[in-house]
Amino acid sequence: MLLLQVIVGGLLLGAIYALFSSGLTLIWGMMNFINFAHGEFVMLGMYVALLVVIWLGGGPAAFGFAAAFALFMLGIAVYLSLIRHVMRGPMLAQILSTFGLALLLRYTAFWIFSANFVSLPQSALSGTLNVAGILMPVPQLVAGLAAIVLTIALHLLLTCTTVGSQLLAVAEDRSAAMLMGIRPDRMQALAWGLAAASAGIAGALMAMSYPWSPSVGETFGLTAFVVVTLGGFGSVPGALYAGLIIGLIQALSAYLLGPIYKDIVVYALFAALLWLRPQGLMGKA
């Protein structure tokens, strides 16, 4: 019974890993661009949720939407002001630019919010469901299910809509897309907006269950890289599977072997997979 409980907990956490990683994989896949500030987007989403709860007293739907919207705008602003320009520069400039952005966002958050750990008031969403002896904390359950739905929605947006086709067309062949009347700049700005929004909303969902401080982005940023690499660069369904798998492996190894082994197990499997299948689970070879 406890084992089942561990599995459920791992999957719920994994679903959130999947949601924020899908944003990273989107940018990676579309532009071959590594965003080191992705974890910071998650962190900002958490603070947006906190501000909405404190100032407006909204529920998860309100602060989830607010975080998604705020981060969507931030993503577009980051693209227009920074990324668009460094894309023309050497690879190293690209890497350093988002690394710098990450530090800028993190220390701005330190400055504004202080280093203290904060958490959402208990009243935001609380309680625990007991389904046949398996305890499911409502905040985690809502967050996990919402994350799965949103990740699938992002996938459908990319594969079943005109905008999605345009996004993918730019990713496939920028000049050919331009010849078809698609403006790559707009599409890439949209991709950054969507990527940041998915991180923001994932942050808002996690804020319901976890305490955080401005340095939390580091942990999530690293997790997102592992998920994206495991799932395959640019594949949203890959990120979904990989997120769930990593959440599950972490929970099981922490329970069965002890918490200090969970990262060893994850990274060992990760290294083994890279060796056997470097393109990731769902990536194109």
């Binding site: 406890l2 750990f117 401080s213 999530f220 002890g258 200090i260």
Partner: protein, 418 residues
């Protein structure tokens, strides 16, 4: 012409006024280098300790006759050095032991500090003290509890705080007392973060428990940066210990309390080994679900009018919060260092070291509830001790031992069921 002479007169009068205002040549300030985690995971605790040490400097540098039982409070500056002021140089090691090592070197070689203080995380104190030993600069450790910081044969390292073995022994004496009162403590669980601090305290607890015939049902080492601790809580739930001792930093201790509620696991008693449980973020985050959780502390605000109460008022005016045990132990370390430098009557490192080794402060000369301050050959304070406190509403209150208790111990803890 008249313009020029007017401004000339003005300049002369300003210079004259400045010269007149200058006192007799002031004694050179004494520079104290302080290493703390001012950013990173433990930044909140580091910032709180920084504020406490700044208050400490204010007490020593200014005139505070109302705190006269503390050495150096009533007088201005260090009388032993012609009224010299203390000049604090703070550096941020971010909780990174190798950075702490580099910064200690920089403080000694470039900032030319006369003494060092720090460094919160045991792992950082461990590396930074080694640098001080190499350069022959006195280092006072105010709050790091891992055993291995002293006892390396170092001459230049002194530690005012109680350490892992003191804490372990305190817990066992407490359990003994509880058993005598008819409470069941057959098995305990020890959950520790896995760097020097958590490992050292947990090792000491395991060793003491063995000696006192208390079974350790399970020991769970984990990384303090974990984002999820449900699996650990389920392991505890499986073993059903009578007491769970957490040796945890901030976010992890909050996470444990929340996960325990979510997974509906409430042991009869939770004891937090200070640190995370004393962090300024802990009470606002989980006080409504962790009612009755115990903690250790040598700090007690005390009655209105007492020295500790006045110190707390000063701290509160600066930070808006009550002083906590960790920051208090750092402030006590700072005050003890200042007292020794004053007694040395010099900034010569060897003289400060000698003065430190001869420190002998009585309980009434301290702001913390130690039995005194006296260092043994390894540099460890042999009179350090601690109280146990319990979370009641939004405040911790001393509940053990009986002579320090301000409130009745609630057993079992109420958690969120109140």
């Amino acid at each position: 012409m008249s313009k020029v002479s007017a401004s000339g007169l003005f300049t002369i009068s300003v210079v004259a006024a400045l010269l007149g205002a200058l006192p007799a040549p002031a004694a050179e300030p004494v520079k104290i280098g302080i290493l703390l985690p001012l950013t990173g995971n433990a930044a909140a605790a580091g910032q709180a300790s920084k504020a406490a040490e700044e208050i400490g400097a204010e007490i020593v540098n200014g005139k505070h006759p109302e705190l006269a039982n503390l050495p150096l409070a009533a007088s201005e500056g260090l009388p032993g050095l012609g009224g010299a002021k203390l000049d604090l140089v703070f550096v941020d090691h971010q909780g990174n032991p190798s950075l702490a090592q580099q910064l200690a070197t920089r403080l000694i070689t470039q900032d030319k500090v006369h003494a060092l203080l720090g460094a919160y995380q045991s792992s950082c104190s461990f590396t930074a003290t080694a640098v001080a030993e190499r350069y022959g600069i006195p280092f006072l450790v105010g709050d790091s509890a891992a055993l291995n910081i002293t006892g390396r044969g170092f001459k230049w390292v002194f530690r005012s705080t109680p350490i892992a073995s003191d804490y372990a022994a305190t817990y066992m004496r407490f359990f003994d007392d509880m058993k005598k009162q008819g409470r069941r403590i057959a098995a305990i669980a020890v959950v520790n973060e896995n760097t020097d601090y958590g490992t050292s305290v947990a090792d000491s607890i395991e060793a003491e428990a063995k000696r006192s015939n208390v079974a350790v049902a399970i020991r769970i080492p984990y990384s303090a940066s974990s984002t999820d601790v449900s699996a650990q809580v389920l392991q505890l739930k499986e073993k059903q210990p009578d007491v769970v001792i957490f040796i945890s930093y901030t976010s992890d201790s909050i996470l444990y309390m929340k996960s325990m509620k979510n997974l509906d696991y409430l042991p009869p008693m939770v004891i937090g080994d200070d640190t995370g449980f004393s962090d300024p973020s802990f009470i606002p985050a989980v006080s409504d679900i962790a009612q009755g959780a115990m903690n250790r502390s040598a700090w007690d605000i005390g009655k209105p009018g007492s020295t500790t109460y006045k110190i707390n008022e000063m701290y509160k005016a600066k930070t808006g919060r009550d002083l906590d045990d960790t920051s208090g132990r750092n402030m006590q370390g700072f005050l003890a260092l200042a007292e020794a430098i004053n007694r040395a009557g010099s900034t010569d490192p060897e003289k400060i070291r000698l003065a430190l080794s001869k420190t002998d402060l009585k309980p009434e000369q301290l702001m913390m509830g130690y039995n005194g301050l006296k260092f043994d050959d390894t540099g460890q304070n042999i009179l350090a001790s601690t109280y146990l406190i319990q979370l009641k509403d939004k405040q911790y209150q001393p509940v053990w031992p009986a002579n320090a208790a301000a409130a009745k111990l609630d057993w079992p803890m109420a958690g969120w069921k109140h």
